[in-house]
Subunit: 184 residues, 2 copies
């Protein structure tokens, strides 16, 4: 039996998105978000939701560029720190020892040690209330050489109910195949 | 060493979102998408990306309402079918034997057998090219009584690299805790 509860914007799983930008002084910053997703295929675009008080907000509105870096399990603590600390108070790359690399295609850095980054240009900023939804057109993708086939295998997700990061579990079904038994 | 590849809109993990609507004749339909995410907290809102040729597109633009139903592992095949078949050709609820229930707060049905649904009203439709990004304000949430604490535990995700649905794996770190070791 279903019951109604107050409106919640809860989806599972949520990605762990480390968004990297340059601030007004050119300092590289990294901020972790869980609210975003793929928005379009052609042009390729993604969405990320950000509150106005966050340090990254100003970088997105002034430089109009960011990268999204996906997090392998061994860097869960670094990604968690990127969500706890603010670039106003800390040089997060110096603190964690990770390396910002200037993107060749957008005005933003990506993280050398992470396996995979999307290089994005802001094409829309939709003010929804507490959050602004930024749409980034993906202008380039960088991957660690040789890891393309592993995409997703080692990338963590975020579960808001348990407040934990999770590894991917076991496969339960093949897509575009499991459902064929219902096709007449 | 990183290498550049063509722009990709690939994030991991992707949710499995079963979007339910009524068509022009009032027939309940269910369509599975993987491209969407949380967009805002206040008001609570989510985004879903849809191509114009999809049957659900017309329902979203005319009725301006939908529900998002998250998929427990035991219904992976039904969700897969909802992504394979079109509501133009099939009565997907009749075929799968699942039950559409009219939402009390928006003009769309949710799935009785799934544990959790967001009831949404379309507040923005952003044409990005091949996809339109619909922003749905969450007007209500229905959950199976007694399952709130389990949110996420049994919900599947989608991995575009392997084309498989995955169960949630094991926790690798506690959020807002693992990163504290970097805080001075």
């Amino acid at each position: 039996m279903k019951k109604s509860i107050p409106p919640h914007a809860l989806l599972y799983p949520n990605p762990v998105l480390v968004v990297c930008t340059y601030d007004a002084n050119g300092k590289a910053n990294a901020a972790t978000l869980a609210w975003g997703g793929i928005a379009s295929s052609e042009p390729p675009a993604i969405s990320i939701a950000l509150q106005k008080p966050r340090y990254t907000y100003d970088a997105l509105t002034s430089r109009k560029a960011f990268t999204v870096n996906l997090v392998p399990a061994k860097y869960a603590a670094e990604a968690d720190y990127f969500g706890i600390a603010s670039g106003r108070d800390a040089d997060k790359f110096a603190v964690t020892g990770l390396t910002p690399v200037k993107s060749a295609v957008v005005d933003a850095p990506y993280i050398a040690e992470f396996p995979y980054a999307l290089e994005c240009e802001v094409i829309h900023a939709l003010d929804l209330g507490r959050h602004t939804l930024f749409i980034g057109e993906v202008k380039g993708t960088v991957v660690e050489d040789g890891t393309e086939a592993l995409w997703g295998g080692d990338i963590i997700s975020w579960n808001a109910a348990t407040r934990e990061y999770f590894a991917q579990g076991t496969a339960v079904a093949n897509a575009f195949e499991a459902g064929l038994r219902f096709v007449k």
